[in-house]
Amino acid sequence: MSAISELSTLSRRKGKATAEEKKANGRDNKAAYIFLLPWLVGLVAITIGPMLMSLYLSFTDYNLLQPPEWTGLDNFTRMLTDARLHNSLGVTFTYVFIGVPLQLAVALLIALVLDKGLRGLPFYRSVFYLPSLLGGSVAVAILWKQIFGTTGLVNQVLAMFGIQGPGWISDPSTALGSIILLHVWTFGAPMIIFLAGLRQIPHMYYEAARVDGATTLQQFWRITMPMLSPIIFFNLVLQIIGSFQSFTQAFIVSGGNGGPSDSTMFFTLYLYQKGFGQFDMGYASAMAWFLLVIIGVFTAINFIASKYWVFYDD
């Protein structure tokens, strides 16, 4: 059971105590708060405190040296006219809305091929899973920088066929594409979740469908997809939230500047430059809250849309 389904149960069951809770009517407040103490301190000092602080800072001008100066909505009106910020939003949206569906489609496709009791499954699974463990590292970003460079591996292979490839990461029109490809390359983790989900679909559904003369394609659309939809949804929500925050790959591949000509300037990269390059902490805080709102809105849209396509079998 996932954190997401847990959250939705929590909101659905509001007020109603479970039988278990009624039975144990004795409360252990003291013991519980002692066990929760590290988490509570963290929640206040590392999460909620800083969140409120950054909300405050987003209305100020602050450079770490002088005390924050209240500027009202200045940072937000600046964001309205900041062309580089608009560009970074475009880059991030392109990355998220091409990269995530593409990655999930590949993950689902490979999971479907792997699912049907294939020999050597553990081996294949390992091979496909490994990149998703390494993909977030600086080392792999370095490898990517070489592979898609002017004299990189991709162009060496193309040269064998007499094709002169472009400098993928030095050309603004293909740089983002090569980083999206790196994201797709890490499809192993969602693939594992899909595999676990496929295992949960009762085999009798397929048998019944086959008796009724359903084709493989019909079985896929009428059984596999509806049964798997909660897991697709779960992957979609998590991958979108995660991808909006991608940073390392674009940072390393572009040498930290989001180039060429801002074509890989992710929102997070721009935030980093503003906050930790120019120490424009007020503006960076405003950007961070804007990012939170964007992620919140897309997650909410996801949840609302899920009512129309996610099928719960309970």
């Binding site: 519980a32 066990f35 590392i46 800083p50 969140m51 977030g136 600086v138 080392a139 070489q146 295992r199």
Partner: protein, 313 residues
């Protein structure tokens, strides 16, 4: 909505979930005529073909990086193949000493951060998980909901004030900003993972211990912790990999080369080198990936179980 993912491809049919109807699928061989099975063999051959091709494509860049790190530098720009004529170790010796400190220095720094983070996560998250899974207390639902929400919170929202806080304490260029959040269970994901696991442990065991006069600390330490070793292992492995790869935190807090962890050291290496020394850069990249690869080899079972049950990256 209970998408019960506890049936895992990793754990095979025999292990673990004995009582549950884990596999609804009939044994593969038992159905069909000869013609049918021949058609299936063809299909399975085609599948293997697709998988080998796709898997090869996935892994090729990594293999090529390993091979290239053992080649003379200039060959990296013109040899896309995997065959090696001779072993060239100079990339490794050059790369190891290319930065201010030998590369081992950065690996030790990373190891300190990794071990501290693992201990922090194990202690703080298991304590919180015990409270959420076993104790009744005022505000439990609210706190539990908040905990779940923090899993999805983008860290950028807190990074600026956190940085201000830690720099005012004077912790920039120490490991504390990377370690203290782990000691305070801010990786809520692991709290959730452990809550899920503890819920699966029969309550009768707690009851028995309570009848014998054990208090909560004792039940936690003597009953629950020993039984949740698989969840602790999953936490250890994921914390290891995520912390070892963590770039953003180290980039912000560690600016002194003495304190560099492996990812920021590699980044400094990329920046300092001209485009011609890919060999030693590759060599150190491989050195940096090696611990993760080893953890993958030996901890795969826990990794796959962890992902499949809770669905994370």
């Amino acid at each position: 909505m209970t998408t019960n993912l506890e049936t895992l491809p990793a754990s095979d049919k025999k292990s673990g979930n004995a009582g549950k109807p884990t596999n609804h699928r009939k044994p593969r061989e038992s159905r069909g005529t000869l013609a049918f099975s021949r058609a299936q063999r063809g299909k399975s051959l085609m599948k293997h073909g697709i998988l080998i091709l796709a898997g090869g494509l996935m892994i090729y860049p990594l293999l090529w990086m390993v091979v290239s790190s053992l080649r003379p530098n200039e060959m990296i720009f013109r040899e896309p193949g995997l065959w090696l004529n001779s072993l060239e170790m100079s990339n490794y010796t050059d790369g190891w000493s290319a930065l201010t400190h030998p590369f081992g220095h950065y690996m030790i720094n990373s190891a300190i951060v990794v071990i501290g983070s693992i201990l922090g996560n194990l202690i703080s998250c298991s304590m919180a998980a015990y409270a959420f899974a076993r104790l009744q207390f005022t505000g439990k639902k609210l706190f539990f909901g908040i905990m779940l929400l923090t899993i999805m919170l983008p860290f950028h929202v807190v990074i600026v004030p956190q940085y201000i806080l830690f720099s005012q304490i004077g912790w920039v260029n120490t490991f504390w900003p990377l370690l203290v959040p782990k000691l305070l269970a801010t990786d809520a994901f692991f709290v959730f993972l452990m809550v899920q696991f503890i819920r699966g442990i029969p309550r009768e065991l707690d009851e028995a211990a309570r009848i014998d006069g054990a208090g909560h600390p004792r039940i936690f330490l003597r009953v629950i912790l020993p039984l949740m070793v698989p969840a602790l292992a999953t936490t250890t492995i994921f914390t290891f990999i995520w912390t070892w790869n963590d770039f953003f935190g180290a980039l912000i807090y560690l600016t002194d080369p003495d304190m560099f962890t492996v990812p920021v050291a590699l980044r400094a290496f990329v920046d300092s080198q001209s485009a011609t020394s890919w060999g030693s850069l590759f060599a150190m990249s491989i050195v940096s990936l090696l611990p993760v690869f080893l953890v993958f080899l030996f901890g795969q079972r826990f990794l796959i179980k962890g992902i499949a049950t809770t669905g994370i990256k």
